[in-house]
Symmetry: C2
Subunit: 434 residues, 2 copies
């Protein structure tokens, strides 16, 4: 991997998401060699992927080149590679570009879509955990409208205009809201020869409430906003299967839909070779101590989505969101430095700053520890927090300009099919038994 | 194709580039049905593709959704399709989504890369006529640096850092300049563990001057600028072949390069079924009258790159650039309306507004009919003209913000490998006889 052996201990960080970046930033200019490995050459600001998928933002404005982030840092190495295995006995990671020894290994590989073992859904449904996946959704949505325009069979046309989003967490809620705004403001103008009233947006949630984990008020208000935007919200309905034609549920309602977006679960994107994963609700995360050490290992750590740390009030680990990842990453960097200096380490305490979700124009819900509010002000808070959290000045400016433009013009202008998505089910459209 | 038959004559326009858009805009709200067909759902601002390829602009800022352009126009239909053939006897076009009858057919399909029949070059070299192709170059350039970093063999490493651009027209000159600026400002910071001095940028031109068609002064100054930026300019050197490893020329110099960008020629992207193409210098364009009618046809027109119209001073047709395309498109729309009203048509006279090319920061050359200038002012003129010509207010703002940012920060921030380019020659690196 062409990384020099120096007298400094080597810390390898796998993953340049929120957690990995926080660790790497915290270890800057220490007496350490830091190697950051990611399979992409950019950091993805995942909270805004849904806006890429719905034509509101260009992908390049929510991605930040990882090399640039560390342009002026000494003893820092970035490698574009996939880590395939950890050999903890030999302190070596195995990657697509060779093996590398570590003194300390930090696993910050994040999470991946959890299809709970359903191979049909995995094959036919769309997921949205990366920029290319968000672009695939953007292409598919637009391609389905182009196809609907030509489709004379009503049943097929309705299926092309039927959108099913599975999972009522922030991703599902935000996507459903954004699609509803496309339906309202853009699609009737772009497709005057289609009856856009026939477009349906279904949000399906297996439990009895949306935005589980947020306050009851936020959940109810979000549902209220979605219904006002024209989204069909289905609660306490579980999706069992999707064969590319029909979404089968455990209720009476089935959905013939050509676009199914699976936002119903994530799981840790663990690396092979380590034992002791935390299997809480099939979450597939590494069990770690309050110092982010993977149980049973002395020099292997996990932070962020892939880590499952039990602290008071979080007996199943922290939520798989940006905040715990950033906080764990920052503290781990501090602890690594403290340990080097032979000082006492600090245990992790999660500082819950609250959570929020946006549904659409002037519509968001915010739960702060001491204050919960919804509506226009919440929407501005949501925008401010996301703009502030984006990495890179250029990205902030470009996203801000897009938002101002979209707000004033009721528009979403990046509705481009740059790389058409090759639907797996395009020519097997006939209805089958599921 | 689900387009209603009305009492209005139907004009089909194939291609949403500069020429096709100009025709469609000119025919708005007339007693006509206008059908625009393109294989992409967006217009591409081709003059800035090279900035997408070199990480200076996001692709979404130089593409504009075609449907949006005609949101408020009646009797207008857009279809996303590829036109495969014209049956002129029956007045029907054949497309990937079905056949359609026309009263008048306007072919504005533009141009495509001309490899002059060399299948090796076509297979191994990169082209840059579309957004996906520009993104492929962006990915490949960055992937080659990631690979160079790991390559211990000096010869192979040099080849990964050796860039050959074939063709000294505006595209080649602008690409070479942009790569040279990446070499200067960005790559040494991004790849501190590579010796970026080993990177070579070669611009190869078969004739004795760059920017053929522009003034001698512009040509010389452009070369001067390029040399100052560190580009190796090779004139009167013809590329004969490229096998994925070595670029073979008709001179003594051969180039071992893993990135070859072919900007040495374009040809009309003609549609099958029509006779009478203009084969001047294998340009593959339709011979048209001064009224843009394809010779031998009564109701089939060609405009832009795909048309070859002889007018005074242009015995081999007009240059394959935006200006002739826009002017021909505008006039054709007027003539179609005049013809409908039974009035006399106007013959085309090309108004040469001049041409320009940028080499880099503060470096451009501008030839106006009465004034030729180079340097900083030319660069500002170049930027102003391109910003002004971009379609869409949002695109103008985003491009402007990027340019300001890039100028102040000496940066190009969209250096992202979003869809890795699958090199065809990656594992056949060993040197062979060419």
């Amino acid at each position: 991997m062409n990384i020099p052996q120096t007298s400094f201990p080597r810390v390898i960080i796998v993953g340049g998401g929120f957690a990995g970046l926080a660790v790497a930033r915290g270890l800057e200019n220490q007496e350490l060699q830091v190697v950051l490995i990611d399979k992409h050459n950019y950091h993805t600001f995942q909270p805004l992927l849904y806006q890429v998928a719905t034509g509101g933002l260009e992908p390049d404005s929510i991605a930040f080149p990882l090399r640039k982030r560390f342009n002026d840092v000494d003893n820092f190495y970035f490698r574009l590679a996939e880590v395939t295995n950890v050999n903890a006995k030999r302190n070596v990671i195995e990657t697509s570009i060779g093996n590398l020894e570590y003194d300390k290994l930090v696993i910050a590989t994040g999470s991946t879509t959890n299809f709970f073992g359903n191979t049909n859904i995995k094959k036919f449904a769309m997921e949205m955990k990366s920029v290319p996946q968000a672009l695939n959704i953007r292409s598919l949505v637009l391609e389905n409208f182009e196809e609907a325009l030509l489709e004379k069979n009503l049943e097929k046309r309705l299926a092309l205009m039927n959108f099913v989003i599975v999972g009522g967490g922030p991703t599902g809620v935000e996507l459903a809201g954004a699609l509803a705004e496309m339906k309202k403001g853009i699609l009737p103008k772009d497709y005057p020869d289609l009856d856009i009233r026939q477009m349906k947006i279904n949000l399906i949630q297996s439990s009895g409430e949306l935005l589980k984990g947020m306050s009851k008020k936020a959940s109810e208000k979000a549902e209220d906003f979605l219904i006002k935007l024209g989204v069909d919200v289905w609660k306490s309905l579980r999706v069992l299967d999707y064969n590319g034609v029909t979404v089968k549920t455990d209720g009476e309602d089935h959905f013939d839909a050509q676009t199914v977006i699976w936002a119903a679960g994530v799981k840790g994107d663990v690396i092979g070779g380590l034992e002791g994963t935390c299997l809480v609700e099939r979450a597939n995360r590494f069990k770690v101590s309050k110092y982010s050490k993977i149980l049973g290992y002395e020099n292997v750590y996990a932070v962020g989505d892939v880590a499952c740390m039990e602290t008071e009030g979080y007996s199943y680990g922290h939520p798989m969101m940006a905040q715990p990842a950033i906080q764990q990453g920052k503290l781990l960097a501090k602890n690594i430095i403290l340990e080097l200096k032979g000082k006492k380490l600090k245990p992790f305490i999660y500082n819950d700053k609250g959570s929020m979700a946006t549904i659409g124009r002037n519509k968001a819900v915010v739960d702060l520890p001491k204050l919960k509010f919804q509506g226009v002000f919440a929407w501005f808070v949501w925008m401010f927090v996301h703009l502030f959290s984006l990495i890179g000045f250029r990205n902030k400016v470009i996203v801000f300009m897009n938002w101002v433009y979209n707000y004033i013009r009721f528009d979403r202008e990046t509705r481009l099919i740059i790389r058409p998505y090759k639907k797996k089910n395009k020519y097997s459209f006939e209805k089958e038994n599921v």
